[in-house]
């Protein structure tokens, strides 16, 4: 993980408190066990986590060269941050609703949900899973029955208590939830039972070694008050007045304008110094979709923090006086996909040729992110336990001649799939969501491809919803989409299993296993490795399986990468703690991937 | 009056145009109906000039337009050459238009500002006449000459380059190029200066002779109407009050309204003794809700009960002199002979 605290102009005025907090965060990353101050935390019994630290230790500071990570060591002061202060956060989009099981949510929305709800499990800085609202979990041998214990004495905002029955009640709601139903299906969950006051037993229909990952995702991992599911009206109301156990309670919500949250005085968690969380009295979220005005709002003091997933905004934020920047670039990577059922993309030579002609460095520059984000070659960043050097080596690098040769080969092929005469140029269509930086990046590909003299390129723009509508295949396999080449954002810090199952399954499978396989590329052998990876919790084993899959895919090239996605949370000077939040056991949490801030442990540094 | 009746109509066959019980009404905002013309009858002999005179709002222009079905009257008949124009189909009426032509009050507005004079005058020919350009040009030139416009000078000019009088000449040329039988002149001189007015009146007289026209001359100026007409019908609020030969009417007005008009008409002669009586009640009632009985009774010094209850009918008060009044200013002649003798007007 690549966590960076950037300060500009005022870095020297950082207080000791802040320095200490940063220390904790970095230290935890490398050595999780020693510094754990929490005696109350029971180590999780899940087997997914333990080995992870070994493979991913010491997040190499591959951050842009100017990063000045303060490294003054072990002068942790006796007290942590103090309570008090307010924050207002500019988000790049409004949440459609604040119901984890129901509402479509992306990173700006998770900023809000995470403030209201606690998840059963959270990720450590290294990406492994640790208990959060749960205390522990264990599975049987074939990973079909999981027994979880909940943290005692946790109360919801409305005063009701968290019990095993709460989780059972939640399952009723989950089964009809637009978001949760999918997770239930892919996690093979079929039954939830209260086997004690605080003990819950999950029954699965088949082996799922990474079930904890599912419980750490918002749709079924976030815990909401049982009263929510009482009737339809309550469910509807919960969209804007959610009730969780989280650090903040929704005070008022004016959709598209602001959502005001105030401190939950009964929050169960305290920091390692014993200060009850959260530090802030209130946090207000403002959706400000326009990148420029969001940064202007921060610069002019209209808000005290903002998040962004655009390199250009990071660049501009770095140039703005008086801001603290919390940057992150994890497994998120930009890229795209070919619809391999449509000529000429059905020929691997064309796909590989086009990718070889592409230039990641230039694309990153066009996105405004020179020196901000890095080229990528696969779904995983180099720090990920699943990262493969072999795939990285196999992924084509920018080479006009080699790329042209591949396309030329196709063009000269008398059996070329697009039915055109030998020697005629191929025509391709590339589409991205209509965002200025993505459009700039598209045009780089276009010029490079056309520079070969072998390709005619048409650019179009579709927002994500339209694209999904065009690309989603009918379950009976009669329809495989009308799309051509489309921009996509790949990867996340979550466990890769779920996404890969539906994303690379057989699109023609009547059961709909590969409905989300928008590229329509299916390789039986490769997919076999993906399925196999859900049967074990051994990370190395899984990494090896994903590598095998990846090596097949890098030959077929149904998808491509255009560079990592850098993200940032920028704050007004003095508002910190976003990268240093802790798990209940005192170890460092995963930070803020995709600019999802955990506002429970953000604080104003004392003057 | 102003009343109804057809006593003044002449035997069928004598008249080139005869109008019977013409009614024109049109709706206005608020669900009301303007009763512009309420059952009038009159006739015109071939070669005759009929003057329609009355104050604004009396329905004289509406009557003129109703004659050529622009728009068609609400009810009543308009016979032209024994054909009832109101019964013709739109297309058949359109074909008839060549025989009945009209000239309008505002000479400038009645010419399309964006077209050249040559085109304007040739337009009727484009619709009906020879399509041959040379023939058209010859006809247009002849007609422009006849109205006193030099075709060589005027042909390629646009209306705004001409004075009002000249525009009226052009518009007369246009209306005559199809050699109509009847020319309806709707206030053709009221927008012109007095010095030009005389030119146009003279021109109309000349053209009438030259082309053997039958004229219907609509105007509010009594002197102008008298000058050009053989027979004059006085209108008031959608009705005809009095019909007579023009000299007879002006010498012996039988209807109080006619007399009022004559008295009010300014004479350029300081020796004429003016009626200085202060009549302030003299205002035209609304055509939406006209008075009962005789429509003039609200302003008539002679009005009594019968005037409000009964509508006066046309009766003969002198030779070819008819009036619709309960109290005509000249004695009613003996009951008209069964077979009246008509004099050439």
């Amino acid at each position: 993980m690549n966590m960076t605290l950037r300060k500009r102009g005022t870095g020297m005025r950082l207080t000791a408190v802040l320095l200490a907090a940063v220390m904790v965060a970095t230290a935890c990353g490398s050595d999780s066990d020693d510094t754990s101050p929490s005696a109350t935390t029971v180590a999780t019994e899940t087997t997914a986590a333990p080995e992870a630290p070994e493979t991913t230790t010491a997040p190499t500071t591959e951050a842009p060269a100017t990063t000045a990570t303060p490294t003054t060591t072990t002068e942790a002061p006796p007290v942590g941050p103090a309570q008090g202060g307010d924050a207002s956060v500019g988000l790049e989009a409004e949440a459609p609703g604040l119901r984890p099981w129901e509402d479509t949510c992306s990173s700006p929305c998770y900023n809000m949900m995470a403030a209201v709800f606690d998840k059963l499990f959270e990720q450590y800085a290294d990406g492994s899973y640790g208990a959060f609202l749960a205390e522990s979990i264990s599975a049987n041998d074939d990973f079909t029955v999981w027994t979880m214990n909940l943290r005692p004495d946790v109360v919801f905002h409305d005063g009701s208590e968290l019990t095993a029955q709460t989780i059972v009640d939640m399952f009723v709601v989950h089964q009809t939830g637009a978001q949760s139903a999918g997770v239930i299906a892919s996690s093979k969950l079929i039954n939830v039972e209260a086997t004690g006051d605080l003990e819950v037993t999950y029954t699965l229909s088949g082996t799922n070694a990474i079930f904890v990952a599912n419980l750490s995702r918002a749709p079924i991992g976030m815990v909401f008050a049982p009263s929510t599911g009482a009737d339809e009206d309550a469910v509807t109301a919960a969209a804007n007045a959610p009730i969780g156990t989280g650090p903040f309670m929704v005070d008022s919500r004016d959709v598209d304008n602001k959502t005001v949250m105030v401190r939950n005085p009964n929050y169960w968690m305290s920091d390692s110094f014993g200060t009850q969380l959260p530090y802030l009295d209130s946090v207000t979220f403002h959706p400000i979709p326009d990148e420029g005005t969001r940064l202007s709002s921060l610069a002019s003091g209209t808000v005290t923090a903002m998040q962004s997933l655009r390199q250009a905004s990071i660049r501009d934020a770095r140039d703005t006086e008086g801001l603290w920047l919390f940057e992150h670039q994890g497994n998120n990577t930009g890229g795209g996909m070919f619809n391999v059922t449509v000529a000429p993309y059905d020929d691997a030579r064309v796909r590989k040729g086009l990718i070889t002609m592409s230039n990641q460095a230039a694309t990153i520059e066009a996105l405004g992110g020179e020196g901000i984000s890095l080229p990528t070659t696969q779904l995983f960043a180099s720090e990920s336990p699943f990262y493969s050097e072999a795939i990285a080596a196999a992924y084509p690098t920018h080479d006009m001649a080699a790329g042209s040769a591949l396309v030329q080969e196709y063009i000269d092929d008398p059996d070329r799939s697009d039915g055109l005469a030998v020697g005629e140029k191929i025509s391709v269509t590339l589409s991205c969501p209509p965002d200025p930086t993505l459009i700039a990046a598209m045009q780089v590909s276009q010029v490079l491809w056309e520079a070969s003299g072998l390709v005619d390129v048409e650019l179009t723009g579709f927002d994500q919803a339209t694209h999904i509508g065009m690309a989603v295949g009918a379950a009976d396999g009669t329809f495989i989409g009308t799309h051509d080449i489309h921009c996509w954002r790949w990867g996340s810090e979550d466990d890769p299993a779920a996404g890969m199952l539906s994303g690379f399954g057989d699109p023609f499978d009547p059961s709909g296993a590969g409905a989300l396989n928008f590229s329509n590329w299916y390789d039986e052998e490769a997919y076999g490795y993906v399925v196999e990876a859900t049967l074990t919790d051994d990370v190395a084993e899984r990494a090896a399986l994903y590598e095998k899959f990846g090596l097949i895919m890098v030959e077929a090239m149904p998808i491509y990468f255009s560079g990592g996605t850098a993200t940032v949370i920028a704050t007004a000077e003095g508002l910190g703690g976003l990268d240093s939040w802790e798990m209940p056991d005192g170890e460092a949490g995963i930070g803020h991937p995709s600019a999802e801030g955990r506002w429970s442990q953000a604080y104003w540094a004392a003057e | 009056m102003a009343g109804s009746g057809k006593a003044h109509l002449r035997p069928e066959g004598d008249a080139l145009v005869s109008v019977e019980d013409l009614v024109v009404e049109y709706p206005v905002a608020g669900g009301n109906t303007v009763k512009a013309v309420s059952g009038i009858s009159f006739d015109i002999k071939r070669g005759e000039t009929l003057g329609l005179v009355g104050e604004s709002g009396c329905g004289k222009s509406t009557t003129g337009r109703a004659l050529i079905q622009l728009p068609s009257p609400t009810s009543g008949a308009v016979h032209y050459n024994l054909v009832d124009l109101t019964k013709l189909s739109a297309e058949a009426m359109r074909r008839r238009r060549t025989d009945l032509q009209m000239i309008f009050q505002d000479p400038i507005s009645s010419l399309n500002p964006r077209r050249e004079v040559g085109e304007i005058v040739a337009e009727p020919l484009n619709v009906w006449g020879p399509k041959n350009k040379a023939k058209q040009k010859a006809l247009v030139d002849e007609m422009l000459n006849a109205v006193g416009i030099d075709p060589d000078v005027a042909r390629n000019k646009r209306p705004h380059e001409f004075s009002g009088g000249q525009c009226q000449r052009i518009s007369i040329a246009r209306s005559l190029v199809l050699e109509p039988e009847v020319l309806i002149c709707d206030e053709p001189v009221s927008a012109l200066d007095v010095s030009v007015q005389a030119q146009i009146l003279n021109l109309l007289e000349d053209l009438k002779k030259k082309y053997n026209l039958t004229l219907i001359f609509i105007a509010h100026d009594l002197a102008v109407v008298k000058n050009i007409s053989d027979r004059v019908a006085v209108m008031y609020l959608g009705k005809i009050c009095e019909v007579a030969g023009s000299d007879e009417l002006y010498e012996n007005p039988a209807h109080p309204y006619t007399q009022l008009l004559l008295v009010s008409s300014p004479e350029p002669d300081p020796t004429v003794v003016l009626d200085r009586s202060d009549t302030s009640s003299g205002e035209l009632p609304s055509p939406i809700n006209p008075p009962s009985g005789c429509r003039f009774r609200t302003r008539c010094p002679l009005a009594d009960d019968i005037c409000s209850s009964q509508e006066p009918q046309m009766q003969e008060v002198g030779q070819d002199h008819f009036v619709a009044c309960h109290h005509p200013l000249i004695k009613v002649a003996e009951a008209p002979a069964a077979d009246p003798v008509w004099t050439e007007a």
Binding site: G182, V255, K258, T293, R294, S296, S297, G469, L516 | -
Partner: protein, 314 residues
């Protein structure tokens, strides 16, 4: 008359609602795609259930009839995306857009009427030429460019006003005023130009009327003539233009609300279209149509109040 107007109003709204319904249904992309997470889209049963729940499986005419039946009772359905009632969403956002539009109109009239009057009074003079030139320049600046400029100057440089967001009147009056100024100005400037021109040209023709001459011949002061005699007859076109501009203004608020992150109706409509939130599109569109038709009916009434000649006819 009133009945006829009402019939026409209802007919217009019906047609608008039907056309919207049709168009929204023609849009490529299924709202379900936006609603269901990728992982769940292969769960046919689940998708079907959702389709059924939102009535997406009925024929279009049936769906329209159902919608219309509910709409008459004030129920405009639920957003497919947020499952919030559409009517509630509209009512919640209406005050914001309405305030924005009203303040923008107010701003522009407040500036345009005196300016247009002055310009007409000094027709051909340097003052008139300057005002006309300024009006043309301000008409030439797109409102989003102006908005960016205003944010830069007043929010970033001077820090007098907030760059984004909205404070409701019920929360804080001063906050509300602060948050309305910049967006309303961005909307108003072009309107100022249009209205100034309208007032000027109407005023010029009014000043040529005989009754202005006769008012002067009565010895009245110029200022009195301008404001007590000339202004009212010169405002008739203005009233019509303002009424017609309400439609354009709602279009304009889409951009301005997006730029200034204001939770108004325009922004919601834009989002709804992008999200295929068809009941939301439907609801807002019909609502906007109702507002538009109502305002133009109001304009007619104001017309009547201003011009007694029309009052008589109706």
């Amino acid at each position: 008359m009133l009945a006829a107007r009402l019939v026409r109003l209802v007919a217009t709204i019906l047609v608008v609602s039907f056309v919207t319904f049709m168009m929204v249904n023609l849009l490529p992309g299924d709202p379900i795609n936006a609603l269901v997470p990728p992982e769940a889209q292969n769960n046919q049963e689940f998708v079907e259930q959702l389709r059924e729940e939102f009535g997406l499986n009925d024929p279009m005419m049936v769906r329209y009839a159902n919608w219309l039946g509910d709409a008459v009772t004030g129920d405009l359905g639920k957003s497919v995306i947020t499952s919030q009632p559409v009517a509630g969403e509209i009512w919640r956002r209406l005050p914001i857009t309405a305030e924005l539009a009203l303040v923008a109109i107010g701003f522009s009239l407040f500036i345009a009427i005196p300016l247009g009057t002055l310009s007409a009074y000094k027709q051909g003079k340097r003052v008139d030429q300057s005002i006309s030139a300024a009006a043309q320049v301000s008409l030439s600046i797109p409102n989003f460019v102006l908005g960016l400029l205003l944010i830069y100057v007043f929010a970033m440089r001077l820090q007098w006003l907030p760059a984004t967001g909205w404070t409701r009147l019920t929360e804080s009056v001063s906050g509300n005023i602060k948050s309305v100024i910049l967006p309303a100005l961005s909307l108003a400037l072009a309107e100022v130009a249009v209205y100034t021109r309208v007032v000027r040209s109407d005023m010029i023709s009014t000043l040529q009327e005989d009754y202005i001459l006769s008012a002067r011949a009565k010895g009245l002061k110029d200022r009195f003539i301008l404001f007590r005699h000339a202004l009212r007859p010169s405002s008739l076109t203005l009233i019509t233009v303002v009424g017609l501009n309400v439609g354009a203004l709602i279009g304009g608020t889409v951009v301005i609300e997006t730029l200034f992150a204001i939770p108004g109706l325009g922004k919601r409509l834009l989002d709804a279209v992008f999200q295929r939130d068809f009941l939301m599109i439907q609801g807002i569109t019909v609502f906007v149509a109702v507002v538009y038709v109502t305002i133009n009916t109001l304009v007619d009434i104001i017309y009547m109040l201003v011009d007694p000649r029309i009052r008589k006819k109706v």
